[in-house]
């Protein structure tokens, strides 16, 4: 056996509630991120990612409370992200019980944040999320959830992030996100070749084969998805059985 490839459901949280639809399990409170995370954990999810998509101060407090409940109730690792700008945000979320934090725009704006997190808490807690889009054959990074373009190359930035002490790279292809035709496998494979830290594939899952391809063609260590899980289009146990039959190292 070998280190298992990871399947990671991503939950967007606003004012303490998950925002994308959830009709895959009979939960009494389908909008409750803790109950949903627990259901995913029981189905065999290897990790969870919770993204805070509220901007307000109250929203942040609600999210921190939620992180505490997740830590108390769920027995698999989880990452939290969204609105992390400085070391004190990281400290607040780790103290609430998160295993890792994911930073995105703030790291591009001030790359030293990566060094600071790695130095204070260790590289293993620092996931650098990158939203990038391919235009005319060039992959460029975007800020603020894909709204603001930058001149940074995906590959240069990922390499710099790793050098500064990132523990993992979570790469979302804006070309593939929401299209459900598969992950950006060529770019993922290139990231895997230039980095010595794990890469999490994000954006594009629409079928079980897409996960297989992200692991084989894209050489990813983990694959993240949201809607195919939330809407029950791909049940996690079925996905993991399929990947195992395809010869991929999977935790069953």
């Amino acid at each position: 056996m070998a280190l298992a490839k990871r399947i990671i459901p991503c939950l967007d949280v606003k004012d303490g509630q998950t925002v994308k639809g959830t009709n895959f399990v009979n939960l009494r409170h389908a909008g409750d991120p803790v109950e949903l995370g627990k259901a995913y954990s029981l189905q065999g999810a290897d990790e969870l990612v919770y993204l805070d998509i509220t901007a307000s101060h109250e929203g942040r407090k609600t999210f921190t409370d939620m992180v505490q409940r997740v830590a108390a109730e769920i027995s698999i690792p989880f990452t939290v992200g969204g609105g992390i700008n400085e070391l004190s945000d990281v400290e607040r979320l780790l103290n609430a019980g998160a295993d890792k934090v994911s930073i995105n725009s703030a790291a591009i704006r001030r790359p030293e944040l990566i060094d600071e997190i790695a130095r204070h808490f260790g590289s293993q807690v620092c996931v650098v999320a990158i939203d990038a889009k391919e235009t005319n054959g060039e992959w460029l990074c975007y800020l603020n959830g894909g709204r603001v373009p930058t001149e940074r190359s995906l590959f240069d930035w990922a390499h710099e992030a790793a050098e500064r002490g990132a523990g993992e790279i979570l790469f979302t292809s804006m070309n593939h996100d929401g299209v459900k035709t598969g992950y950006a496998n060529e770019a993922l494979a290139r990231l895997a070749d230039i980095l010595t830290i794990p890469v999490i594939a994000s954006g594009g899952a629409g079928a079980k084969e897409h996960f297989r391809d992200a692991f084989t063609l894209g050489k990813s260590d983990a694959a993240l998805a949201a809607s195919v899980f939330h809407f029950g289009e791909i049940p996690i146990p079925e996905l993991k059985q399929y990947l195992s039959r395809e010869g991929i190292s999977i935790r069953l």
């Binding site: 056996m1 070998a2 280190l3 298992a4 990871r6 954990s41 290897d46 830590a71 108390a72 109730e73 027995s75 698999i76 690792p77 780790l94 103290n95 019980g97 295993d99 808490f121 260790g122 590289s123 293993q124 523990g167 993992e168 070749d193 010595t196 830290i197 794990p198 260590d221 983990a222 935790r251």
Partner: protein, 198 residues
């Protein structure tokens, strides 16, 4: 049952507190010698750097106290490494409970990433800590240093090379993986530890 967790300068200790609470135990987090010596079970978990944590333990007299414990003790992650003789991380002498030295992983190819992070399998399971567990059950790891297999090894994991996923000697148990983050298998292992009687 009185369960104590050693309070020191390592991170990620609260996840062990939560995991024990899910099993119906309310542990105390303490560095008081009286509390630790009188507990029925002691856990020594955490993530951290070997030299810093050893220095802290020595300065607070916890090094000798941990060696003196006679009830079942469970070290987790850096806890396991600190219970060995010596660590390459910071080139520091450790507690010397297990007759083994902690080494840094040396990758042999690009795909062998360090830290070893994620779910991997347990094999050659021995003893009460793994009651009800199966060969090749998956548990969760995050570490860059490892303990080679040795006569105290009670579970083996293969990453870059086969190494000790768990150790046992007398009343001392230790795991390199995080049972508190390893789903139902991890819960079983923690429950097994709570059930151990000497």
């Amino acid at each position: 049952m009185k369960v104590a967790i050693v309070k020191y300068n390592a991170g990620n200790i609260y996840s062990v507190v939560h995991a024990l609470k899910r099993l119906g135990v309310d542990p105390i987090l303490t560095d008081s010698p009286e509390e630790l010596l009188s507990a029925d079970k002691v856990l020594f978990p955490g993530q951290g750097e070997a030299r810093n944590t050893m220095t802290y333990l020595r300065e607070h007299g916890l090094d000798q106290l941990i060696r003196d414990l006679r009830q079942p003790v469970l070290g987790i992650c850096i806890g396991q490494q600190l219970m060995c003789r010596h660590s390459e991380e910071g080139d520091v002498d450790c507690l010397g409970i297990f007759d083994a030295d902690v080494k840094r992983f040396t990758p042999t190819c690009h795909e062998e990433k360090v830290p070893h992070m994620g779910w991997n399998t347990l094999t050659d399971l021995k003893g009460p800590l793994f009651k009800g567990c199966k060969e090749n059950d998956f548990v969760y790891f995050v570490h860059s240093f490892y303990v080679p297999t040795n006569p105290c090894t009670i579970a083996t994991t293969d990453y870059i090379l086969p190494y000790s996923a768990a150790l046992h000697k007398d009343n001392f148990y230790a795991t390199q993986f995080h049972p508190e983050k390893s789903g139902s298998v991890g819960e079983q292992i923690l429950q097994n530890f709570l059930d151990i009687t000497l």
